[in-house]
Subunit: 96 residues, 5 copies
């Protein structure tokens, strides 16, 4: 999986029937080694992530193992919202 | 999924039988972090995207979950045409 | 799919049984945004592409949806030979 | 597969039901040609890797061929902990 | 597929049960456009490739279409050993 941050939502009125009703969010991946910004992708979201939240994204065929995406043309899905507080605590304790 | 812009159509008279009749479009991905141009791919299109339109592209095995592509050697498909107007409004409201 | 150019053939006498008899070609991908040369891959070919020809390549599991590759360890296949003439005409008409 | 080093654990209270109970670790890939740091990913772990350990990571659909991940939205899994001592011995013997 | 060179073997005593007995080799990919060294991966090997040999590697789900890897968490497999001599002859004849 990859870590990313939701930066926007996206609309596509003309789209595949199987995507109708699916919430699509623009996510900036945070996977670069030295903290640089990574690629920008679009992920389906059923977890309810909001703009600005740090999320966990799954890509490829595994992205369809969520909800009823199995027969959808989806290759990226938000599978979790990262608890930023705990994330910081772990960072601090690591350098204690 | 990735955001891209259709930049051309492409012809291949000699091709896999299962691709006969499939509309193929050249798409420039717009997935780089700072707005630079991304890789150039070729995607199957049944949505009816035109040259210059901003599109949503699915890659990998999920790209076959459209129309009757299931048994085709297709690894990229246009799954939506992005509404550029709403896209700008969201951008404006984000910085309001 | 990706656009590429066949630059050589390749021989591997000791190989997986299921690859015996499969024609393998070295292809330079032409997928970089500003026309730079892309990665070099090896693709199975049943279309009959020759060295120097511009081809359409499918990667990943979709590459096995050709001929009887379904049970082969193949992750890249040439699925079409691009008509370079029409390709140029389209380029010209685009800038007319 | 890729070689990587576990650099942290990660928490996501709100996540896909099928990920509940799955240990997720942040792994820095060590796959760059000249030893530079590679991308940062998140991998499921049932082997019991600790922070600082060098691990073997599988990505894509193969990552689900572990434990009961088959129906999970997992695209990266730790599949082994690398014996660093033997790794060094091999390096030494290679240059003897 | 990608071309690579075997640069080392690798040991992981603690690993997925389904990998026990599987020979794992470290392979440097030679897929960069101008001959630069590519990423370093780990591939399963049942062909019997030795350190220093030039090999053909398959990645992704296709890598499991070898031997009895179907249910293994393997995403890279050596599928052939490249005949370097013929490779050079072809290079020479191309520039004759």
């Amino acid at each position: 999986m990859r870590i990313g941050r939701v930066i926007n939502s996206i609309w596509a009125t003309r789209k595949a029937d199987s995507l109708i009703g699916t919430k699509l969010m623009i996510v900036q991946l945070l996977d670069r080694p030295h903290g640089e910004l990574g690629p920008i992708i679009v992920a389906a979201d059923i977890i309810g992530a909001g703009i600005g939240e740090k999320v966990l994204v799954t890509e490829g065929s595994s992205a369809r193992n969520m909800d009823n995406f199995n027969d959808s043309p989806i290759d990226s899905t938000i599978v979790g919202i990262i608890d930023e507080e705990k994330d910081k605590l772990a960072e601090v304790s690591k350098h204690a």
